[in-house]
C-alpha cells in the first residue's frame, strides 16, 4: 500500500508540475488573474464602499454572499459536532470525583450516590485531575480580558486594517477556550452555557442573513447595503460601510460561539461535565 501510494503520488506530482508550465511567472503583475476582475476592486473599493481594506470590502460586500455561506459552513460544523458527539443529559457519568479543598482529600462517588453541594468546602474535579498550576491560572486570567478586548478591536477595525469579524470571532473564542483550558470546562459552561452558545451562533448568522433580508425589504437586492441608506439616514456609500460593519458583527458573534461550542463537544467527547 505504501509503495503504491508513493508511486501514484509521485506520478501525480510529475503531472501536476508539468501542468504548471503554462503558468505565468510568480509575482507577475501582468498575469491574467491580476488584470481582469481584481483591478476593479482595487480601483473602486474606496468609492463604492468607503472601506480601505479591500479584502474586507470584497469579503463582506462584493462577495458578501460567499461570506454568508462561509458563516453557514462554520455554523453547520458546530451543529454537526453537536449532532454527532453530544451525549444526552440523562447519560450520567459513572463516577464523580470531589475534592475536599481544605484537606485535599479526594472523594469518588459512584453512580447513584449522593453528591455534595459545590461550595467552599467541596469542589468537583475531573477524573483525570492534574493539580492546578497557579502560574498558568493567574496568567491566563489576566490575559483573557486583554485578548477579548483585542478581539473586539479586530472586529471593529476590520475596515481599516487586517482583520474583521472572522478573525476577531476566532480570537474571542480562543480567549474563552484559553479560560476553559486553564480552569475547568464546568466553570466555563457555567459562564457560557452550551444552549447560550448555540442560540447565539444561530443569532449571529441570523444577523448576517437578516441584514440581507432588510436590504431586500428596503427595495434593493439581497445584501445590497446601499438600499439601507434611507433606513440609516446616510448616503449609499456610507450605508455600504455600515452594512459591512453589521455583517462583520454577525460573523464575529457566530464564529466565537461556534468555536466555543465545538471545543465543548470535542474536549469532553460530548459529555460536557468534564473536559480538557
Amino acid at each position: 500500500m505504501k509503495l503504491i501510494g508513493m508511486i501514484s503520488i509521485f506520478w501525480l506530482f510529475i503531472v501536476l508540475v508539468y501542468g504548471t508550465s503554462d503558468f505565468s511567472a510568480w509575482g507577475d503583475p501582468e498575469s491574467p488573474c491580476n488584470l481582469h476582475v481584481s483591478n476593479y476592486y482595487i480601483e473602486h473599493a474606496m468609492s463604492d464602499t468607503s472601506v480601505p481594506n479591500i479584502v474586507t470590502a470584497i469579503l463582506a460586500d462584493y462577495r458578501g454572499f460567499d461570506t454568508m455561506f462561509e458563516t453557514a459552513v462554520i455554523f453547520s460544523a458546530g451543529i454537526a459536532c453537536f449532532f454527532l458527539l453530544r451525549r444526552p443529559k440523562y447519560d450520567a457519568p459513572e463516577a464523580v470525583v470531589f475534592r475536599h479543598i481544605q484537606t485535599g482529600i479526594t472523594l469518588r462517588i459512584e453512580k447513584g450516590g449522593r453528591l455534595p453541594k459545590e461550595s467552599d468546602e467541596f469542589e468537583r474535579i475531573d477524573t483525570q485531575w492534574v493539580p492546578y498550576d497557579l502560574v498558568i491560572q493567574v496568567t491566563s486570567r489576566i490575559l483573557v480580558p486583554f485578548i477579548q478586548l483585542f478581539a473586539l478591536y479586530v472586529v471593529a477595525h476590520g475596515h481599516h486594517s487586517p482583520g474583521g469579524g472572522f478573525q476577531g470571532g476566532v480570537i474571542f473564542g480562543a480567549a474563552i477556550i484559553l479560560f476553559a483550558v486553564s480552569n475547568t470546562l464546568r466553570k466555563t459552561t457555567h459562564r457560557v452555557s452550551e444552549k447560550r452558545s448555540a442560540v447565539l451562533c444561530a443569532i449571529g448568522v441570523l444577523i448576517y442573513a437578516g441584514t440581507g433580508v432588510c436590504c431586500l425589504l428596503a427595495g434593493g437586492n439581497f445584501l445590497d447595503y446601499s438600499a439601507l441608506s434611507g433606513l440609516l439616514g446616510v448616503d449609499p456609500v456610507t450605508a455600504r460601510s455600515h452594512g459591512i460593519m453589521m455583517v462583520e458583527m454577525g460573523v464575529g458573534l457566530a464564529v466565537t460561539m461556534v468555536m466555543i461550542w465545538i471545543y465543548y463537544n470535542l474536549s469532553s467527547a460530548g459529555k460536557q461535565h468534564e473536559g480538557l
Binding site: S8, F23, N39, E43, A45, M46, D66, E70, V73
Partner: protein, 135 residues
C-alpha cells in the same frame, strides 16, 4: 542556465504547493492513523490556500489596504500598486471551510474511537471483520 534559474524562480512557489499537496495526499491515502489522515487533509487544504495566495502575488506591490486619510477622496488608485485581493478573500473562506471540516472530522474520529477503542485503521478493520464473522 539562466533560463533554468528563471523558470525555477518563477515557478518554485507552485512546485512547493504541489509538494505539500502530495504530502497531504500521501498521508490521506497511506497513513494508518485517523488523526494523521486528518492532519494530512489539513496540509492538503492549506497547500491549495498557498496556491491561491501565490497566484495573487504581485511584485513591487503592497498589501491590499488602500492608502487613505481625510481629504483623499479624489485620489485615484492604481491596480498595479496593490496586491490582488480577490484570492485572499477566497482563501479566507477556504480557511474557514478547512477548520469546519476539521471540527467535523475530529468529532467523527472521536465517535470512531468510542466505538472501536482505537484509531488505527487496520485494527478497526480487523474488529469489523471479527464482528461480521460472529454475526
Amino acid at each position: 542556465m539562466d533560463d533554468m534559474i528563471a523558470i525555477i524562480l518563477s515557478k518554485y512557489n507552485y512546485w512547493t504547493v504541489i509538494t505539500l499537496m502530495m504530502i497531504g495526499l500521501y498521508a490521506m491515502i497511506v497513513k494508518n492513523n485517523l488523526i494523521k489522515k486528518i492532519i494530512g487533509m489539513n496540509i492538503f487544504q492549506t497547500s491549495i490556500i498557498l496556491f491561491y495566495v501565490s497566484m495573487g502575488m504581485k511584485k513591487d506591490a503592497t498589501i491590499p489596504i488602500l492608502e487613505h486619510h481625510p481629504g483623499m477622496q479624489e485620489h485615484v488608485y492604481h491596480a498595479a500598486d496593490y496586491i490582488n485581493p480577490l484570492p485572499h478573500v477566497l482563501m479566507l473562506t477556504a480557511i474557514v471551510v478547512s477548520v469546519a471540516t476539521l471540527g467535523v472530522a475530529l468529532s467523527l474520529a472521536l465517535k470512531v474511537y468510542d466505538q472501536y477503542g482505537t484509531l488505527e485503521e487496520d485494527e478497526i478493520n480487523a474488529k469489523i471483520r471479527k464482528a461480521s464473522v460472529k454475526s
